[in-house]
Symmetry: none
Subunit: 197 residues, 4 copies
């Protein structure tokens, strides 16, 4: 991503301790009070080293979060559309909980006035989840469980939108039952008069 200097010479130990320090500090003081100075101090690294490889604290956090998120196992395929979507949604909700202290929530807030960060955040952290979502829905279309002519972007907004709505106004993340209700309603928005297809 940023990495202008020769990535071959990069010191992996520094990179690790920076990402770890960033996550630790974010958990301790929250994304808003996090500073590059503090990350450097905690990581035992000079600020220069951070700025050499990342353009901002947001970029650091994005790398840190991305790495953790990748480590999480893929969602199983159960065959039931609502169940699978709910599982995907639950994973996103977990990323955003607790909404204060969550690095991802902090990144989202920062991305709102940082176009570049917004782009990176979308492409690296969000895109894979959107892709999973789209893929599962397309499978459902092939299986005749979902209207073939449905607009997947609209579906995405209906399923994930309420999560961000709640996040933005500190309304708390939904529990399992609420996720169920949410997915059920969202899918029903695509029901046709004559059945599910």
């Amino acid at each position: 991503m940023p990495t202008p200097p020769n990535p071959l010479r990069r010191n992996e130990a520094s990179r690790r301790s920076i990402l770890d320090a960033a996550l630790e500090l974010c958990a301790e003081v929250g994304y808003g009070r996090l500073t590059v100075e503090a990350i450097a101090a905690r990581a035992g690294v000079s600020k220069k080293t951070i700025y050499r490889w990342w353009p901002s604290k947001g970029a650091v956090m994005l790398d840190a979060v991305d790495e953790r998120a990748k480590a999480v196992a893929a969602h199983p395929y159960t065959g039931d559309l609502a169940t699978d979507l709910r599982n995907q949604l639950a994973a996103v909700v977990a990323l955003l909980t607790p909404s204060d202290r969550s690095p991802v929530a902090g990144l989202i807030a920062e991305a709102m006035h940082d176009d570049e960060l917004a782009h990176d955040l979308r492409e690296r952290l969000i895109r894979p989840r959107i892709d999973s979502f789209d893929e599962r829905l397309r499978q459902a279309q092939r299986d005749g469980q979902f209207p073939a002519d449905a607009d997947l972007d609209v579906a995405l907004g209906l399923v994930y939108g309420p999560i961000y709505h709640r996040l933005v106004f500190h309304l708390g993340m939904p529990d399992a039952a609420q996720l169920d209700t949410l997915v059920t309603h969202a899918l029903r928005a695509f029901v046709t008069k004559s059945g599910t297809s």
Copy 2:
């Protein structure tokens, strides 16, 4: 809300020029680059005067935006539920456009790591719009156009959620046609097998 000191002696001219300066500067440099220092300078006011009446730049902007938002006329009642909801939604979308430079988008981002601001933002700017939404839906329930047992919070999430989803990821605000699609789908989520009621 904020106003700790004696509000009777407050200088209305100062208050006005502060709110105006805040909105002007936000439009010029964006919420993120806005500073209390600059607001004071532009308004011809001492910083102390700002801090006397507001705890942060967010609180200032909230007052400024709130005042403007109040000045906007109420939405007409057309009798058609989808049309009325779409009009309400369009008004909210207008508040968030353009998403950079929009004071409201800036407030939302800041509220994500400022509990007090989040509370004020919700209660003063968002609550009236939720109330309108709920009221219109209850009217629809009385008219038999909407299921009497529907959960209005879920409905709120389905209608407004997608807007915040788009806002958060810099996806651009929906145009009229997209709003139409959105409201149509959201309402259809509450259709029962045997009709609309």
Copy 3:
């Protein structure tokens, strides 16, 4: 002194509580940390009332100190020049002790970059003491105990100068024995070869 407004309507109670508050606060926090705000608050008086009657905190303190100083009894005439000078000097030393917290030391410091205050300080607080000194020396000249052609300004400098020298460099005020030595030496500076003239 300052008093531009009608002195007849002046509120004596306010004046008293301002001067008292000034002395109290000076004793508590020292002249340097003393503020007009604090004096007004302590005295239960508005800042305007202070600025109506005095041009600066220095002027207030000068009034306060002057009033106290006037209340002190005059020095007795013993007939012995050295003894009388030492008594006068001891009174001045008392005014300057302790050198921090002493309002007079604070006034002296402030007077060093405030010409008007320096003038008032000299005329009201210092002049009477110089006059006593001069008067006593002239009496000694008439009595033949001091050379008739001696320059009294030089004598003043020799007697009082060392006090200010010590004050300025935080060297502590002299005790009785040191005062004695001081006066003895200073007077001896005017001894002629052939005796005391």
Copy 4:
């Protein structure tokens, strides 16, 4: 003296421009109206850099004045005690002229309510002059020109005291003739009945 951080990494160019700016500004507006803010601006330096190396504007001025004072050549030894003392005294008087605008006079005033500054001022600026004075007097004692049992502190007070007395009350610094009179009288205070020794 002050210098808490690692002095090895200190930027000499910054140090120089700060001290120069301080002296310039003091000459222009006077010590009382001098601000750290203005020094930083004039020196093209951030305020942080000043506060990193000095605790107050007084400490900055002391360094600036000290450096200049060191550059002045030592006083010649003429063999005549009165002449040598008068020369030393004249150098001090020059430091304090003009009494407004003089950085040293400002430092003295500030030192009166700042113990730490008073200490540094005494040790760095005053002490060398006291040492010269004492040394010259001890030489005179060895030469039999000054009583062997005289108290040098008392002598110091008699010679230098009148200078501070005049400084404090805005009486103007003495000219050459007055310095002569002053030293003559001060030395005569140590004359014994039977001669100069």
